[in-house]
Symmetry: C2
Subunit: 226 residues, 2 copies
């Protein structure tokens, strides 16, 4: 697979500032639903962010993702309508007290964000048999999720806010964006410069759910053994 | 949800070095299957890496992940056996020529890596109705995948190699690690210091599949419109 001539990384070490930058992006990344400014993204910046997504890990190196850049106001308006319809249904699934709080949440920035990006997964991109997908059929979907997370972190380092919208009927989204039946939408993202970033996740600030203690989530050698 | 008293990030800007660090982690991250050194991970370093995973985005802030740290040689040996069994099955799924090449690939470092980590998803962690999961049932699985990607990037910035093993029968892995029926294993990771990092993905170097051109993956407003 590799031999003595296979090129290695020439500068594998991270400086203190470089390492801090990685952790800063991870800890200061927020799910942004408001505060978007209308300014368009510079082309070179958008390219860096998409290239970061394209360098996500992918099962069997299949790179199953595509990126649909949505800027057309009419398309955005139709997707926003699909969100509103699903969000009304969603609110009714909660208990009455939770539903009242839920309806106050702002959960998307589809119209305000200058750019929306739909990240997809083409499950047939490299044929039916994929290295590493033979026993875990979901691995290609997970690869596209890794691309989303890379995009999100790169955007944060560029000063861009990103929000992941997941409240819509998938068939409706596919119809609006002309996505073929065999392609799976993984994420619908709203992206743009922002007025500010909140220090904490908004659902944490709102008291919806608390941040869990990391120690409670770590087991040793067996599930439940701490 | 938020008001004028909600705390904002005090240092939202990234320096040039910090931004470079984020991109360096993304571009120099490799799926590591060999080259592991036996040295254990320092506790504070492991903590930073797990805390990075714990700060992934999660649907409805449900934080559905757990981290099973596997160091016990007997447990690792049983998981390695599960890999070998599945990998034999996997090879037989390819065409004869592809199968011959496949059998030469080293696809895991379970026994050599000083630490293995199983990242899971607890779909019932915060009850049946979750903000943002009402119409996309997979969102909680995707949250745990984002935790994996955060872990992987943090590990890279610390000089640690990570390999994602996906060739095993899920029921076998759950049995070996005592994972309850309702919990979904998302990733089985091998992690440790490494002798070196390859410049390119190993499947690319081996000529198994090429890196796709980013331009071919970008559409505008509609699927297929470039």
């Amino acid at each position: 697979m590799t031999d003595a001539t296979t090129p290695l990384q020439l500068e594998p070490e991270f400086s203190t500032d470089e390492r801090r930058g990685l952790y800063k992006a991870i800890h200061q990344r927020r799910d942004v639903r408001g505060q978007f400014k209308p300014d368009p993204l510079p082309d070179d910046m958008l390219r860096r962010v998409l290239d970061a997504a394209h360098h996500a890990p992918s099962v069997g190196f299949m790179q199953p993702w595509n990126f649909i850049l949505v800027r057309n106001p009419e398309i955005k308006r139709r997707i926003h309508a699909a969100f509103l319809e699903a969000n009304t249904e969603a609110a009714e699934m909660f208990t009455p007290e939770r539903a009242a709080q839920y309806r106050q949440f702002k959960l998307e920035g589809i119209l305000e964000a200058p750019l929306n990006i739909c990240v997809t997964c083409d499950r047939e991109r490299t044929g039916p048999v994929v290295v590493g997908r033979t026993h875990q059929r979901m691995m290609d979907l997970y690869s596209s999720v890794c691309a989303v997370q890379n995009l999100w972190l790169a955007a944060r380092a560029e000063g861009l806010g990103v929000g992941w919208v997941s409240i819509y009927r998938q068939e409706r989204l596919k119809e609006i964006l002309g996505i073929p039946a065999a392609i799976i939408p993984i994420a619908y993202l709203c992206i743009g410069f922002v007025e500010f970033f909140f220090a904490q996740p908004e659902l944490e600030t709102a008291g919806w759910l608390p941040r869990l203690a990391l120690d409670d989530l770590i087991f040793n050698d067996q599930w439940g053994k701490q």
